[in-house]
Each structure stands twice: as structure tokens, then as C-alpha cells.
Amino acid sequence: MVRAGRRLLSSLPALFGVLVFTFLLMRVLPGDPAVFFASGPNAGKEEIEQIRKQMGLNKSVPEQLVFYLSDIGHGNLGRSMMTGQPVLKDLRERLPASLELTFTALLIALIAAVPLGVLAALRPGSLVDHGVRMFCALGVCVPTFVSGLLLIYVFYYLLGLAPDPTGRIDVFTSLPPQRTGFLSIDFLLAGDIDGWWAACKQLILPAVSMALFVIAPLARITRASMLVSLGSDFVRTARSVGLSWRKVVITYALRNAILPVITIAGIVFSTMLGANVLVEKVFSWPGVASYALDALLSSDYAPVQGFVLLMASVFVLVNLVVDICYGIADPRVSIE
């Protein structure tokens, strides 16, 4: 616990750096947001000035930075011109959508990747190994939006099995009272099984298309690390004393091989959260990544800064969780 706290503290300077850096980067990028947003058919100089004032752009950059930092200190991330809402509110509404999608995708990926990696490692060079390798290569080669569009085409357009790919829930279904923001959990808490089902159906296709993309790194790292572990002395010993196959592979080999998989899973998770913008666009998923992209295209400073800060914080948290998971998988790690 002390260790976790210290880790958290030591990441604060990094967060601060990210904050200032993003702020400056946005100001350096060409493109004046005020001109972009003053795009009514009659918007002239006056309107542009007024928006500039509203966004605080009429002050000097250092002044803006001070105001920005003090706002952050008060928990105010600014207001988005694009949606007209406070950025904090936007992020709070959209983050659960992204998290739900990413968690599900990661879960699907792990469930598929770990057994695949183990299988490949048990028989290196065999047909199974090559099969897994080919599958992984294909998964990485096909960009997520292509697999997403393909899945939509087959399961929605041709077969009509999937619901229409328009966000987290069918427009005609009423929403459960918001508790966690994760629809699949909220529906369960509300005891609405039909709603839960509807939410899950919406979730499957985007999650699968994201998972396909990340199965490869996870399966490859599982395989590599299993190979090392299977070739080590303790496995040889375990085999020689006649322990069951199950005990040798699962308890001894896999448990020792899982550390790098956890690390990669942590990294994959943070990357997915920010980089699933294409999936979010294709499935109209109201997540944070597509929100940030739209904001970036229209030079809407506040949401982009808020998003980067959010991602940096998530990254710090994920690292922390990964650390804790290490401790569970291998108690030796937590001893300093």
C-alpha cells in the first residue's frame, strides 16, 4: 500500500508536465478556433472577437496558462465549444462508454489470446503454432475499422443478427438509472434483463473488432514467455516427478509466465482506450476517443487538453493496477 501511494505521488510531476505540454502544443498548432466556430453565414470580426473572449484567447499565453492551471486546481476543465458542455461533464458521460468497450474487448482478447499462446508454446513449430501465428498476423494486419465495417456488413446488413450499429443502446430502449455508467452493470442492478441483453448485443461487435487487433501481441507474448517457462528447470523437475499435465502447465509454467502478459495487457489497455477512435466512429460509440478527435479537428482546446490529462491519469492508474497484479501473481515482486 505504501508502495502504491509512493508510486502515485511520484507520477504527479509527470502529470503536471503532460498538462503544460499539451497546453502549449494546442496553442502552437495553427488554426484559430474562434474563426472556426464563428461560422454562421454572417459571422464577422465582431463574432470572432467575442468567441475569442469567451474562450479566453484574448489574453497572453502565460496568462492563459495560469488561468488554466488554477481552473484545473478547482476541478474545472473548461467548456467545449463543440458540444457546448463543460468538458468534465462530457468526459464523465463518455468515459464509462469507452471503458466498458475497452474492458470487454480486453477480456475477449485475453480469453482468446492466453489459451492460443499456451497451445502454440506447447507444440512449437507444429501446425497449431503456425495456425496461431497466421491468425495473429491477420488480426494485426486488418485495421480495426475494416474489421468493424466487415462485421457490420455481415452481422447487421446481410444476416440481420446484430442490432443497428448506432451507439451503446437501441434508441427505443429506455435507460436504467445511472449508477456505474457501465450500461451492462446498470441494467443488471436495475434488474432489467431485456435491457441488459440489448446493451450486450450492441457491445459485442465493436468489442470483437477491437479484440481482434490486440489478440496478436497478447498471444505472442504468452507464447514466448511460456516457452521460456516450459524449458526451465522447475518444469523439468515437476515433469520428472510425475505431476499431472494440468498441474505442470497451469500451476507452474503459466503462473510464472504470466507476468509479462500482465504488463503487456496493461499497456494494451491504455492504448486501446485512446486509440479505439476508429471503432468508436464506425459504431457511433459515444466514447472519449472520438470526442477528442472531433475536438482536435476543430481546434477546440479544452476537450483535447482534458482528454490528454484523462489519458495520462488512466495510464498512471493502470500502471498501479499492473503493479498490484504483479504482487498477486508473484509475491516476491512486492518485497522491496
Binding site: 495553427p30 484559430d32 454572417n42 458540444t83 443478427l161 427505443f172 448485443k201 481482434l212 457511433s284 476543430s298
Partner: protein
């Protein structure tokens, strides 16, 4: 399928069975009474007056608020479009224009009520119009084009009569009151939410509505969807009848291919922003209704900066005008879906009409282009850039490639620049781009309006930065010209100047392709280029 072959078969089966079970029932009866409209954009505010509001927000406000007057509609080549010349009462039961054109008197409907049940009074109208010309909101600049600039111009005569006085007999004053911004707000409700800093309740009205419109906002998720339900008391469309649909869902679906799938499968009823290629294939399949209307109040240009060399030389501009591969561009960018503004023949070399936009006698003629370049003293050509914004990439990208190829033939070397939207608008505003493509739209498309707003002054919308005193003077004079024949004459003069100066090259008016379920009727092309949900019904 390709991807299925590399996934474990069991996984596919599992997914399929998961999706197969349970399909949402019990909505069939309300589905027919619901309009589901999908769009690539989104509604970002409930008050269209807020700077930065989107076109979808404009469209939504047409249904949630009423105005004093509204545009009628007419048939243009068999399609319904808004009619600028036919202005009917909306909240006004009737109106009079005094013989000198300086006084407009509106008598309000006695039965008109706000959505909270209170009657619509002249006080509310005055407050709303005052807000539009006083508060720092978008309506100010719009109403300025109709000589409506000060709160003193609006006078309450009695609870049901309001009088608008004008400094000059401005033809655009009345049409301006039918545009998006001067919506009539329930002033009692709005005032309750006004603060000292914000006397016009702009912050509150951004997230709430207080109007008398045909629809009430049921749920509003900025950037995702808006659901509105019918106001059964509303009867401003047809006598004694509310709007047709009980509910309208306006949903953002960013991916155009997905929007096409949705409407083709019948899950969405109406969409107006598909890619031209998708529209073409959907039209060919014949299952859906496709209404293509040339956007007769909008124009796409190739613009040149008349202040930057070499485009400050009129012969260079003419050379470009005769070196563009118009037909190829029209096909590649729009699949021919629009009204061309090139390829006319002017027998006596004079404009055929005083209406702007006009079809100009330009076509690709490389020899002529070379001659013009020689006359400009640049027989060897020069290098320049051609810019367009990312948002228009689907049409502008193929166009840019063709421009580059064709201009290379007369020695002009073109670098293509694809700019993010905010960057493009900034550069245009700062007048830094030499050669680029852009589009314009005018809500009130009259000749003098186009020329005054898009061809005069050192301001952003004067894309070509033309500074021609004759043109400016004629356009200004035409604004207040009451005589139709003289107005037409002024229009012809302006068009002639446009052709000889060639400040920028109008290319075409793209089609608005509305794709809808075959049961949808009544779709009308509106001045704001979005759907007015009150127009449509289901058979």
C-alpha cells in the same frame, strides 16, 4: 467471409447465437409514428443563437420554436423547395407592410400558446426580437442584413399587435424574420433564468427550451442524440392539425457507410448527408426514395486571392478559368449530382440573367488559357498551392487531383494542401491562401445579398478579396431598389463585372440528396439545408 476463416469457428457461432436471441418487441406500433433521422453532425445547443451552434441545431430550433413568419414552399423541377417570395404567418395571423415599406405590422394568433400553456403575447415577441439585436449572439449579424439593428424598432401596439419600423424600405427585413435566429421565446420563463451577467438568459436557453414550437424536447444529449415529442396543441403548419410524427429521434452516426446501411435496412427513415457514391447505389437499387435538389442557395467555388501575385492579374485568373476540367471535376467530385455553373453560351457576350448565381460561359480550352497566361506575362507558368479542408475531402480530393493535372498542362505547378477545418478557416480569414476551393451558402439568396456579402469588403466571406468599387456601388444600390426591372438590370451589370473580372470561379451547386424510406412524404429543401421535421409525414 474472409475474417471468419481466421477466427475459431466456435467464436463465430457463439457471437451469432448471442445476437440471435431476444429481439426488442413492443415498439412496432409506435415505430410508424416515429421519425428516426440520422446525421453525421450533431446538435450542440438548443438555442441556435449561441456562437458555434451547428446546422443540426438550426434545424432542431425550427421545430422547437416558432417565428413570426415562415417561408412558403414551391415546386422547382418537381421537387419541393422553400420559397423566398412567399412569406406566410407562423405566430402572426396576418401582417401588413406599409406602402412606403417602412412599417411592418404583425397581428398575433389568438390561439397561440407556449409549451407551458401561457399565451404568446406581443411582449414576448418584443423581448425575443430585442434579444436578437442586443445580446451578443448570432442573430445580431443576421438581422443586420435586413436593417434590423436596434430594440427601438420593435413596438408593442397592443397585446396581440407588434410593429416593426425600418430606417429604409429593406426588402430583406421580412424574410429575415423567418430565418432561424429571431425565434419567439417565452419571455416570462426566460427572464426567471436571466442573471445580472446574462440578462438574455443565453446560458439557460442553451440547455432548455421555452418556445411555442411543434415539438417539445424530451431528451438532449449533445453530440449523440436528441429526442423530441409532438406538441399536440401546435397548429401553425396546417389548420387545426399538429405535426405528423409523434416523436422524432435525431441521432448522430458519424460513419457515412453506416448511415447508408441504416436507411437501406429501414432502421432509419431519413438522411441527407450520405456520400454521393452511396446515394447513387441506393438510387439504383430503387427500394428507397431519393429526392435530389440542387442547393440553389449554395455555391462551390475555386477561389483565387485577387490581392496576391500572380492572381492579382486578371489574365491569370482568366487563364485558370479556362484551364479547369469542369466536366471531369463535376463527375469525379459529385458524380454529376448537382447543377453546373459552367459551360453556358452567351450569344452576344452578355449575361443572360440578372440572377446570381449564373451559369458562366467557361469551359476547358487550354489554348485560350495559354494565351491569357502569355498576356499576363507568364508564358512559362508559375507554382502555387491549391487548398481544401479535411471536412470536404470526399469531394475536394478528387477535384484537387484533376486541377493539378490540368493546370500542369499550361505550365502551372500546383501543390495540393489538405488543411484541418480550423486551420483552413483561419487562413481564409487572414487572406493567406492563393488558390483554394470553398463553398458558400446564403439563407436569403437574392443577387444583391450575394454580391454584398461575398464580393465586398475586407472580410472573411469575401474569399477572392476582390475590391471593385463599381461592383460594391451597384450592389449597394440594388439593395434598396424597389423597381423589379431596374433590379434585374443591376443584376446583369454585376454578373457582367463578375465574368470579366473573374475574381473566383463558380463551379456548381451541389445536390442535397435526401434519402428516405419510401413511406416518407413531404420532404422540402429548406433554406438552412437541413430537414424541417414539421414538413415530413408517413403514408
Amino acid at each position: 467471409m474472409r475474417f471468419a476463416s481466421f477466427r475459431p469457428a466456435s467464436c463465430v457461432v457463439a457471437t451469432a447465437t448471442l445476437l440471435l436471441v431476444a429481439n426488442a418487441p413492443a415498439q412496432a406500433q409506435t415505430r410508424a409514428e416515429t421519425l428516426r433521422y440520422v446525421t453525421g453532425a450533431s446538435v450542440n445547443t438548443l438555442d441556435p443563437n449561441i456562437p458555434g451552434s451547428t446546422r443540426e441545431s438550426f434545424a432542431l430550433s425550427m421545430s422547437t420554436y416558432d417565428r413570426l413568419v415562415a417561408f412558403g414552399r414551391k415546386q422547382l423541377n418537381g421537387k419541393w423547395v422553400f420559397d423566398l417570395d412567399k412569406i406566410t404567418g407562423e405566430l402572426a395571423e396576418s401582417y401588413d407592410v406599409s406602402s412606403d415599406g417602412l412599417k411592418l405590422t404583425f397581428r398575433l394568433r389568438k390561439d397561440a400558446k407556449f409549451q407551458d400553456g401561457s399565451p404568446v403575447t406581443a411582449e414576448d415577441v418584443k423581448w425575443s426580437l430585442d434579444r436578437c439585436v442586443t445580446a451578443p449572439i448570432l442573430g445580431k449579424a443576421q438581422l443586420l442584413t435586413g436593417s434590423l439593428t436596434s430594440a427601438d424598432q420593435f413596438k408593442v401596439i397592443d397585446p396581440l399587435t407588434i410593429e416593426v419600423t425600418l430606417p429604409k424600405p429593406d426588402k430583406l427585413a421580412l424574410p429575415n424574420l423567418a430565418t432561424v435566429y429571431p425565434m419567439i421565446i417565452n419571455s416570462k420563463v426566460a427572464k426567471e433564468h436571466a442573471t445580472a451577467d446574462d440578462p438574455w438568459a443565453t446560458a439557460w436557453l442553451k440547455e432548455h427550451t421555452a418556445g411555442s414550437g411543434a415539438y417539445v424536447v424530451e431528451s438532449f444529449k449533445p453530440g449523440e442524440q436528441v429526442i423530441i415529442k409532438r406538441n399536440d396543441d401546435w397548429n401553425r403548419g396546417s389548420p387545426d392539425k399538429p405535426a405528423f410524427f409523434k416523436r422524432v429521434i435525431v441521432q448522430s452516426v458519424p460513419e457515412p457507410a453506416t448511415r447508408a446501411n441504416l436507411v437501406e435496412r429501414g432502421d432509419a427513415d431519413l438522411v441527407v448527408d450520405l456520400q454521393a457514391s452511396d446515394v447513387q447505389s441506393l438510387e439504383a437499387k430503387g427500394k428507397l426514395k431519393v429526392v435530389s435538389t440542387p442547393q440553389y442557395n449554395s455555391i462551390t467555388f475555386v477561389s483565387m486571392n485577387n490581392q496576391i501575385p500572380p492572381f492579382d492579374n486578371v489574365n491569370v485568373r482568366r487563364a485558370i478559368a479556362f484551364a479547369l476540367p469542369y466536366d471531369d471535376m463535376f463527375k469525379a467530385a459529385l458524380f454529376g449530382r448537382g447543377a453546373p455553373l459552367f459551360g453556358a453560351t452567351w450569344p452576344d457576350g452578355k449575361p443572360l440573367t440578372g440572377i446570381y448565381p449564373f451559369q458562366a460561359p467557361v469551359k476547358i480550352d487550354l489554348d485560350k488559357a495559354r494565351e491569357y497566361l502569355k498576356a499576363a506575362g507568364l508564358p512559362e507558368g508559375f507554382s502555387t498551392t491549391f487548398s481544401f479542408n479535411v471536412g470536404q475531402a470526399s469531394t475536394a480530393e478528387p477535384m484537387a487531383a484533376l486541377v493539378k493535372e490540368s493546370l500542369a498542362k499550361i505550365g502551372i505547378k500546383v501543390d495540393i494542401q489538405k488543411l484541418p477545418d480550423a486551420q483552413m478557416s483561419t487562413q481564409i480569414n487572414e487572406k493567406k491562401l492563393p488558390l483554394f476551393t470553398e463553398g458558400i451558402v446564403a439563407w436569403l439568396p437574392s443577387t444583391d445579398y450575394f454580391y454584398r456579402n461575398f464580393y465586398t469588403g475586407n472580410q472573411r466571406w469575401n474569399y477572392s478579396s476582390i475590391n471593385n468599387p463599381d461592383l460594391a456601388a451597384i450592389a449597394q444600390e440594388a439593395r434598396f431598389e424597389p423597381d423589379k426591372a431596374k433590379y434585374e438590370e443591376d443584376g446583369r451589370k454585376l454578373n457582367a463585372i463578375h465574368f470579366s473580372e473573374m475574381p473566383q470561379i463558380p463551379l456548381w451547386q451541389p445536390n442535397q440528396d435526401a434519402v428516405m424510406a419510401s413511406s416518407i412524404e413531404g420532404y422540402t429543401y429548406e433554406f438552412h439545408r437541413q430537414v424541417d421535421y414539421r414538413d415530413v409525414s408517413r403514408k
